[in-house]
């Protein structure tokens, strides 16, 4: 039933999500640059704001003020649509994510399914970007993004299935509440946890699996031709996607907002940033995997192990 209160609530939560997305992007980009800098004997940003915290704001302002260049042979509607298609789904995917028992934009019975489904749209955005700008490097990058999608999505789903079996629900909020009764699912599903970690790195196109960008091979991959604000939309989408993936990971495996001493949202943020830090750590340590090696890695290692993991879980559950 639509009441005034529920409308207000929805509006407020959309505002909240926008705030979370914006602040998160500003902070995570700064955080990543700091982590990268210190891992490489550098300092990272130091000049703008305290400890360089406002560097991202300055960079954002620069990007916004820049001219957007349209390649002459680009397919203009697709060219413009692509970054939006990349950003909007990850934005919506934050709706069902609970930051505490009460801090949740919109409770959905099928929250997990929605997030998974929206995750797929990101690849569509990349494909459109690669196709629309009529650049060979971008096309190669986009085709790589599409080629890898099955290789990680199936293991990803096969890692989530045991969690659903354990929790008996698709609702993100209830999955956490089940963990409150027992314990973190990461302890039941260590293998699934590991594979999920690899799969979200793949899903967010992060190094060592950043073939779609692959700077040293494809210049900038699918966003080679994008400049200014449209480029920063891709950037925003990537970092928001990382946030969503980390949030889902902490909900599924590390008990979401559960934890002693601090209030729920703090724990949730701690867990999210733990995952974000892990992904940064991967990125600034490893070389890039080759595309065909990643595919065979996905099909020959991730898939059988996650399938085995699922079957064992299902067997044990049935026996109990």
């Amino acid at each position: 039933m639509i009441t005034e209160i529920s409308i207000m609530r929805t509006l407020l939560s959309i505002l909240g999500i926008t705030l979370v997305v914006g602040v998160n992007a500003i902070f995570v980009v700064w955080f990543e640059r700091k982590v990268a800098g210190h891992m490489q004997y550098r300092l990272g940003p130091t000049e703008v704001g305290p400890a360089g915290l406002l560097q991202t704001v300055a960079d954002g302002l620069k990007l916004v003020s820049k001219q957007i260049i349209f390649p002459q042979s680009a397919d203009k509607p697709i060219f413009i649509l692509a970054p939006i298609i990349c950003l909007v789904p990850v934005f919506i995917a934050l709706l069902p994510v609970p930051f505490s028992a009460t801090w949740q934009a919109h409770e959905l019975d099928m929250g997990l399914l929605l997030v998974i489904a929206l995750g797929l749209l990101n690849t569509l955005g990349i494909l459109l970007a690669g196709w629309g700008c009529d650049n060979k490097y971008a096309l190669l990058g986009a085709s790589r993004a599409v080629a890898q999608i099955l290789a990680y999505k199936i293991p990803l789903l096969l890692c989530i299935l045991p969690i659903i079996l354990l929790a008996g629900t698709f609702s993100l909020r209830e999955i956490v509440l089940v963990q409150e009764q027992s314990t973190w699912f990461a302890l039941y599903q260590p293998v699934g946890f590991l594979i999920y970690l690899i799969a979200i790195t793949l899903e967010t196109n992060r190094s060592p699996f950043d073939f779609a960008e692959a700077e040293s091979e494809l210049v900038a991959g699918f966003h080679t031709e994008y400049s200014g604000m449209m480029f920063s939309l891709f950037f925003l989408a990537e970092y928001t996607y990382m946030l969503v993936a980390s949030a889902i990971a902490s909900i599924l495996f590390l008990g979401g907002w559960l934890g002693p001493f601090f209030p729920g949202p703090v724990w949730m943020l701690i867990k999210i940033y733990f995952f974000l830090f892990l992904m940064m750590w991967f990125r600034w340590t490893f070389p890039r995997v080759r595309v065909d090696q990643m595919l065979s890695f996905g099909w020959k290692i991730l898939l059988p192990i996650s399938l085995l993991n699922f079957l064992i879980t299902a067997g044990v559950m049935a026996a109990l």
């Binding site: 982590v35 004997y41 300092l43 340590t285 290692i301």
Partner: protein, 153 residues
């Protein structure tokens, strides 16, 4: 086959963890960064800036005798020297000593070729400008006193 499959995965994973150990250790080590302009790095003793003329300690005039050996030694043709004898002097003095720094490759052949050690390297490093003109014709005589100073006026 199964064991080698599992072994590959385990050795692979452990090699990744070793790499991650190195980067996390690095996070807590200090690097070389010097935050210019708040801090400045020390210039090495043999630093080669653009060339400059050495002044004679007693007179303050340039030691240069305008012999032109630096002009001949220069591989990039970036030095221009003219000189004449000031009244009552035994040796010539430069009336013009111009360096085209845009061409200079800082090889130091001019410094070595000088018979009276009248050229040396400056220690200027923050050389930047909006146009190339100031560097295309650097007048090196500006820094030293000139025996012709009275005559020009």
């Amino acid at each position: 086959m199964m064991t080698s499959y599992a072994q590959d995965i385990i050795t692979g994973l452990s090699s990744l963890l070793t790499g991650m150990k190195v980067t996390i250790k690095t996070m807590f080590t200090k690097g070389h960064t010097v935050q210019w302009p708040r801090q400045t790095a020390q210039l090495p003793l043999n630093f080669r800036g653009h060339i400059r003329l050495v002044a004679n300690d007693s007179t303050g005039f340039a030691k240069c005798i305008a012999c032109g050996s630096c002009v001949r030694a220069c591989p990039s043709n970036c030095i221009e020297v003219k000189g004449e004898k000031p009244e009552g002097a035994k040796k010539k003095s430069p009336t013009l000593f111009r360096l085209d720094f845009t061409k200079c490759s800082l090889c130091g052949l001019c410094v070595e070729s000088c018979p009276v050690a009248a050229i040396t390297f400056s220690r200027d490093y923050a050389l930047a400008g909006l146009t190339s003109e100031p560097f295309a014709a650097m007048n090196l005589l500006d820094e030293v006193a000139s025996p012709f100073a009275g005559e020009e006026q």
